[in-house]
Symmetry: C2
Subunit: 498 residues, 2 copies
C-alpha cells in the first residue's frame, strides 16, 4: 500500500470514529431516556437527540467523505478487511445520501415524541393515546420507503435496513413454510398433558430477582467491567463501544421467569457486543452482522442454552438460594415449566413455538401499514382479529395487545422478522457448536460455557459485519438458513417434556 | 423591530439551542461517566466527549455566527433582554475564538484521562498515580491563560471564567481581610467548651440514608419530575436543561451528616437550575449568573437554612424516623453538633468557619501553580505544610489531603474562590430575605420554605446571567458584596451555641 493510500485510509478511520462518537453519544442519551430521564426532561431530550442525529448525518453525508471513499475504493494494496470496511461504508454513504438532514431531524423528533406517547399510552392502557404519534411515524416511514427505493414492495426497503437482502417475497414464503410444521406440532402438543407450572406463580421478592439477574449474567460470562444492567420499561441492549455494553431488564414480582430469561436474552446480545473487536470501533468490522444474527445470539443463550435440561439442572440450586420458595422443585419440573407451550398474548413471555405466530402477526400488520392497506387507527381491531385467528386468544386490552412492544415508538418497522430469523439461525449455529463440541451438554450441566464462547468468538463475533448473514451462515455452517434445524431442536425438546 | 431583525434573532436563538444540545449531550456523557460508566468504557468515553466538545466549539466559533452576532449587536428594536443575550453571547464568541479546536479536544481528552487517574489515585491513596495527568492539565491550563490573556496575573484569566471580573489582586485582599476576624473567632471558640457530637458517630444504615436524602430534597422543594439523585464519588449537580437537573450524593455509613448536608448543598444548586427560565434554553438569560452566585444558592440551603436552629427543630423528628438510634437526641444537641467548629482535613465536611481556610489553601496552591512557582510534583508537601499553618492539622495521607477534591481532574482551576464568595453572597442574600420576610424563622420551623423560594425566584433565578454577580448583588441587596454579613451571621450562631 502506498504511503498516500495509507494516509487516506487513516483519515477514513478517523472520520468514522468521529461519526461513531456522535452516534454513540446519542445512544447514551437514548439509554438514559429509557432508564433514568425525569419526566419533564423528555421534550428537550428529544430535541437534543434530534440535533445529534442531524450532526451525525451531516458528518456522514459530507461530500468530501464520499470523495475519500471513492478514492479508497479504487486504491490498491488495502487488506481484505480494509477493502470491506471501505465497500460497506460506501454503500452506507450512498444510502444515507438519500436522506436530507431535515428528514433525519424530523424522524428523530417524531420517534422521541412517539416514545413518550407510547409510555403514556401504556400507563393509560389506551392505544388512542399513541395513535396520533404513531400515525405521524408511519407517514414518515412510508416517505422513507420512497427515499430508499425498492423493487417489489415498499416494506422491502425497511426490511433491508435490518437484514440485508430480506424481502416480503422471501419472508412470505419462509413464514408460510414455517407455519405448517409449527401448527402441526402445536396441535399435537395441545392434545397432551401440559407440564405443571403452578410453582412459578408465587410472589418473588424484587430485590432477590434483581440480584439473581445479575448473577445469571455473570454466570454466562457477561463482563461487568465492560457493561452494566439497569431497569427499563422494555428490556433492551445497547452499546457505546465494545467496552461499554448495557443491558436492561424489568421485574414482575409475580413472575421471576420473565426477568430471568430476559436477562439471558439481553445477556446474549450483550456478549455479542462485548465480543466485537473494539479496535474496529466506528468501522463495519466492529459492528454487528445483522439484526437476525444479533437475535440469534440472544436466542441461543435464552433458549438453546437457557431452556435446556442441562442448564436448568445447573441453575436450579443457584435459583433456590435466591428464591427459597422453590426448594422442593426438581430440575425436571422446572425444565418442563419453562418450556410449556401455551398460546398467549405477550410475545416476550411466549414459548419458543407460539413465539413465531406473534412475529408473523406483527409482520402482517407492518406489511399492510406500509402498503397503505391498513391505517394506524385500525391496528387494534386487526391485531385482535389476528391473535384470535393465529393463536386462538382474546386480547383483553391494548397493553396486552398492540401496545406491548416498544419498537414502533422507536420507528423500528421491519425489525420483527429478525426475531424469527434469530431463532432459526440460533438453532442452526447451536447444532454446529454441538458437532464441534460433543461434550457440550455435560459442560453446560457444570456451568461451563467455554466451548460456546470460543466458538462464537471465532465464528461470529470476530467478523463484525464484514459478511452478510447469509454469507456468514454458509461460512460457518456450510449452508444457508434452513428452518429444519429449528424444527428438529424444538421437536426434540418437546418430545422429552410432553 | 424590523422583520429582518426578528428573523435574524430567531436564527440566533435556533443556533444557540443547537449548540446547547451538543453541550448538554456532553454533560449527559459526563454525568454518566461519574455515576454509571463501567470501568473499561472510560477510554472511548473520553474520546466521545472530546469529539462533542470539539463539535460544540466548532459550531460556536463559526464565522457566520460572528457575523450574525455583530449584525444583531448593531440592530435596533430588540428588547433589553434580547440585547443582553446578544451582547453576552458575542463576548463568549470572541473569547471562544481564542481557542483552537485542537486545543479544545486536547483539553477534553486530558481532563477525561485525569478524571480516571484521580479516581485510581484515590483508590490507591497516592498522589503519584495522579501526578502525570495533573501535570499535563496544569501545562494546558497555563497555555490557556496565555490564550485568554490577562492584565496582571495569569491566574486572573482562569478566575474570570468562573467569576467575571475576579482577580488575584481582589481576592488576595478579600482573603486577607476575611482571615483576621475568622482567626479571631476561631481562637475565641477554641477556648470554649465545644458542643457534644458523640451521637453522630454511630452506624447509620446506607439504605436509610439514601431514602432520608431523597426526603430532604423533597422537603426543600426539589422537583423529582424535573430531576433525580444518584450516587457518585464526589457529589455534584449538573443539568441538561431546567427540566432535567441532576444531583448526586455519597454515603458514609459512619456519618449520616455528610450525606444529609451534601443533599442540602446540591439541592440548593439544583433548585437554582430548576428555577432558571427553561424557555431561554441555550441563551445567557437561561444560564446561571456566576459560580459564586451558584455557590450562594447551595450554601444558603446547606448552611443559612440547613444548619439553623429552626430547620434542625423541624427536621429532627423526620430524621428520627429514619435513624431510630437518634431518638433521645434533642434539637438543641443536634443544632450544636452540626455547627461544631473544628479544624479538620476535608473541606466538604468542615464547619462554616474553618471552611474558608480550606479555600484559601487551595487558592494559594493554584495561584502558585499558574505562575509557575510551584510544580505539581511538589503539591503534597506544600499542601500539608499549609494545612499545618492555617488549620494546625497534620495531613495523614493524600486521600485526606490534596486528592480530596475532584475539581483539578476536571481542569477546574480558579473554581475554589467561588466557594468563599458563595458563603458571603449567601449570608448577604439571606439577610435580605429575612428583612423581606420577618416571620421566616418561624416558617422554617414549620418546614415552610415558600418565602425563600419566592424571593430567590424573583431576585435570582429569573435573571439567568443577564447581570454580573456584582450587578445582581447591588440590585437585590442595595450594595456590593460585604463580608460583614457573613461574619455577623456566623458570630450570631456561634454565640448561641458556644
Amino acid at each position: 500500500m502506498s504511503t498516500h493510500t495509507k494516509e487516506k485510509y487513516k483519515e477514513f478511520v478517523q472520520r468514522m470514529r468521529r461519526i461513531a462518537d456522535v452516534r454513540y453519544a446519542n445512544a447514551v442519551l437514548q439509554w438514559d431516556q429509557e432508564t433514568y430521564l425525569p419526566p419533564k426532561g423528555a421534550a428537550l431530550r428529544g430535541q437534543q437527540m434530534a440535533t445529534l442525529s442531524e450532526i451525525a448525518h451531516d458528518l456522514f453525508t459530507d461530500a468530501s467523505l464520499g470523495t475519500l471513499l471513492n478514492e479508497l475504493s479504487a486504491a490498491k494494496g488495502l487488506t481484505e478487511q480494509e477493502e470491506k470496511n471501505i465497500a460497506l461504508t460506501l454503500e452506507d454513504y450512498n444510502k444515507n445520501k438519500k436522506y436530507s438532514s431535515a428528514f433525519v431531524r424530523k424522524m428523530s423528533e417524531a420517534t422521541s415524541k412517539a416514545y413518550h406517547a407510547w409510555i403514556n399510552a401504556r400507563k393509560q392502557n389506551s392505544f388512542r393515546v399513541f395513535e396520533k404519534e404513531l400515525d405521524e411515524l408511519v407517514q414518515l416511514k412510508k416517505e422513507e420507503t420512497q427515499l430508499l427505493g425498492y423493487a417489489a414492495h415498499p416494506y422491502d426497503a425497511l426490511l433491508n435496513e435490518y437484514e440485508k437482502g430480506a424481502t416480503v417475497q422471501w419472508l412470505d414464503k419462509l413464514f408460510d413454510d414455517l407455519q405448517v410444521p409449527l401448527k402441526a406440532l402445536l396441535n399435537k402438543l395441545e392434545n397432551k398433558t401440559p407440564p405443571e407450572t403452578g410453582f412459578l406463580h408465587q410472589h418473588f421478592d424484587t430485590d432477590a430477582q434483581w440480584k439473581f439477574g445479575l448473577e445469571i449474567l455473570k454466570l454466562i460470562g457477561y463482563d461487568f467491567e465492560a457493561g452494566r444492567q439497569d431497569i427499563s420499561e422494555h428490556p433492551f441492549t445497547t452499546n457505546f463501544n465494545a467496552h461499554d455494553v448495557r443491558v436492561t431488564t424489568r421485574i414482575d414480582e409475580n413472575d421471576f421467569t420473565s426477568m430471568t430469561w430476559s436477562c439471558l436474552h439481553e445477556g446474549g446480545h450483550g456478549l455479542y457486543e462485548q465480543g466485537l473487536p473494539v479496535e474496529a470501533y466506528g468501522l463495519p468490522a466492529g459492528e454487528f452482522c445483522s439484526l437476525g444474527i444479533h437475535e440469534s445470539q440472544s436466542r441461543l443463550w435464552e433458549n438453546c442454552v437457557g431452556r435446556s435440561r442441562e442448564f436448568i439442572a445447573f441453575v436450579l440450586p443457584v435459583m433456590q438460594r435466591y428464591f427459597p420458595q422453590l426448594h422442593s422443585v426438581t430440575a425436571r419440573q422446572l425444565f418442563g415449566a419453562v418450556n410449556k407451550v401455551q398460546p398467549s398474548l405477550i410475545r416476550t413471555e411466549s414459548d419458543e413455538l407460539t413465539y413465531h405466530f406473534h412475529v408473523m402477526i406483527r409482520y402482517q400488520v407492518e406489511k399492510l401499514l406500509m402498503e397503505g392497506s391498513l391505517l394506524p387507527g385500525d391496528i387494534p381491531a386487526y391485531w385482535n382479529e389476528l391473535y384470535k385467528k393465529y393463536l386462538g386468544v382474546t386480547v383483553p386490552d391494548d397493553k396486552n395487545g398492540c401496545l406491548q412492544d416498544i419498537h414502533w415508538s422507536h420507528g423500528s418497522f421491519g425489525y420483527f422478522p429478525a426475531y424469527t430469523l434469530g431463532s432459526l439461525y440460533a438453532a442452526q449455529f447451536y447444532h454446529a457448536i454441538k458437532v464441534h463440541a460433543p461434550g457440550l451438554d455435560k459442560a453446560i450441566g457444570n456451568g461451563d460455557f467455554s466451548d460456546i464462547h470460543s466458538w462464537l468468538q471465532t465464528h461470529v463475533y470476530q467478523y463484525g459485519r464484514t459478511f452478510t448473514s447469509d454469507e456468514l451462515c454458509n461460512k460457518i455452517t456450510g449452508e444457508s438458513l434452513r428452518m429444519e434445524y429449528f424444527m428438529d431442536y424444538i421437536s426434540d425438546k418437546y418430545n422429552v417434556i410432553y
